[in-house]
Symmetry: C2
Subunit: 222 residues, 2 copies
Amino acid sequence: LRHSPIRAVLLTGAEIDQVAGLLTLRERQDLALHATPATLAAIADNPMFGALHPGHVTRHALSLAETFSPVAGLSADVFTVPGKVPLYLEGDNPEIGESAENVGVELTGAGRRLLYLPGVAAVTRAMRERMKRADAILFDGTLFTDDEMISLRVGDKTGMRMGHMPIDGPEGSLTALSDLQARRIYIHINNTNPILIEGSSARRRVEEAGFEVAYDGMEIVL
Amino acid sequence: LRHSPIRAVLLTGAEIDQVAGLLTLRERQDLALHATPATLAAIADNPMFGALHPGHVTRHALSLAETFSPVAGLSADVFTVPGKVPLYLEGDNPEIGESAENVGVELTGAGRRLLYLPGVAAVTRAMRERMKRADAILFDGTLFTDDEMISLRVGDKTGMRMGHMPIDGPEGSLTALSDLQARRIYIHINNTNPILIEGSSARRRVEEAGFEVAYDGMEIVL
């Protein structure tokens, strides 16, 4: 019989990158889907996600005020992060700000903490407090430089306009996260980002600063 | 620079299996998207597909009456096939019938003909005429037996209810396509279908009847 080992899914937003994978989990197998009310609404409004049979895929609204346990032995704490609503739901002038449309997750298990932050426009004081106590931080690595997509002529938006702070530069994450003890791993890396190319100067910069670059199939042991 | 060799996409319907892959083609690269007005409407109604930038992904409404050329050297002829509207757009009692929601394609190039028929509830006389002149037929192989999903307890629908004729049985495609000269290749195979298991009796039945079972990365030379 067909089977998936995935028992629970926690969404940090409804951006296509975050939710399209649900369409490959649309079998009749029990699955708990956790997301903020804003993200659950985006999914409920889209008829394709009706294929996630409600008798098997239970929707759970995340509270920003409470820690919960998605699977035994693991607790999750969800918090807002400066960012943006999903591209396909934005209006003409989307604001970059903190809302339940874009959250981060702090996972705790066996005394270890991991932060998952795929969409970050800025590092707040509250985020810094969480990062200081984390053992690993999976951090938004969308672009290396803010105007990367414009200078490569593959887009007309800066990273900040898309809700992503760059890696490089005085406002970049390489500087903002430089003094942390945690393993720092870049995720959500756009295909224009030169850190994807082994041996590139951008990749060396990141590695020499002690950051890692995530890859498909990566396992993280803490 | 990022690049995809895909220049044109022809959709035979708006079922998730047919359209979800578009979400991985949502870069700013020129792409022609061909579909019937019914399928284009399903995509236009879904905000996620707005990510296919209209300045780069041009929508082309397919006429059922005209042959067209999606890329140089290839002509395509689209025709209705007995089947069903997409699951996520169906009402309480979807009818199985012929409409522009579910089409087949006859591709012609260098004097060779290939038929692509991923959703087939029944073989009509018009389809038989096309099949007789084809060099290869990619045919709906969703289920081996009509009640397969029910007897495996992974679903409550028959294949016919889903708009797919089974492979086996007096009403099945193994019999319906038995006298054709073309290469006959099963595609769109559900993960409950035992023809996926090499050496299974179902797989042997299919192979001994001269049918092939498609696989990821298959190349077909005619």
